[in-house]
Subunit: 127 residues, 2 copies
């Protein structure tokens, strides 16, 4: 599997995007609204930061309230998300999403439960 992105919970995606541009040479690769969530993908040479700014209650807003801003998840790209989820099931890993669903950038995504992966919230992504 390939590293796809590190998801970052933030109260101000645009301001953090400017900082990452200045600091890391990132560029804005993609922006969208996922419901009430403002999403900005900042390019690295081999992946992205995904900045996530909530504008209403939800999982990211709850994360910010409980943990403050910072790394929320790591996304791994797989060529076959169904097979990846089947492997997860076979090795006894709890899944938040039993089936792939529509995620940012029109990709199929599915999250694993962090209790099964050492506290790391992992997202599978199929482009």
């Amino acid at each position: 599997m390939r590293f796809d992105h590190a998801g970052v919970a933030t109260e101000n995606a645009e301001s953090l995007a400017f900082r990452f541009e200045d600091l890391f040479g990132c560029e804005i690769a993609h922006e969208e609204w996922l419901g009430d969530l403002k999403v900005m993908f900042m390019s690295l040479e081999n992946g992205y930061f995904e900045l996530l700014e909530p504008t209403a209650d939800g999982t990211i807003a709850a994360y910010l309230e409980n943990h403050g801003p910072g790394i929320h998840h790591v996304a791994l790209e797989t060529e076959d998300i169904d097979a990846a989820l089947e492997t997860a099931e076979n090795v006894g890993v709890e899944r938040i999403d039993e089936e792939p669903r529509d995620g940012a950038w029109g990709h199929d995504v599915a999250f694993l439960h962090p209790d099964s992966t050492g506290g790391v919230l992992v997202e599978f992504v199929e482009h």
Copy 2:
């Protein structure tokens, strides 16, 4: 800059390594002791997970106590860590390490202060 690795604080690096092997097809790329810290690099196609298991008090042990296991930092590879640190200084980003120091795998590393980077603990790495 390139994604290099996601650093993961864990109470049991070996057990988490087996899980990541089963689940993501990772392989153990490198293991070492950094003082009292057991370090295991698990390969992805374009980077690594760095599993960090403390066996004595220190920053990772403190992190585990305060936050529980999970993603501790994101490391970005740069070809010129001195230039990267100078850029950080120029854009007003606080650095934990003012100068590069020896890190895991014999690489030069330097950490930025997460208060300056949206709560994300970022490590610069020069191979």
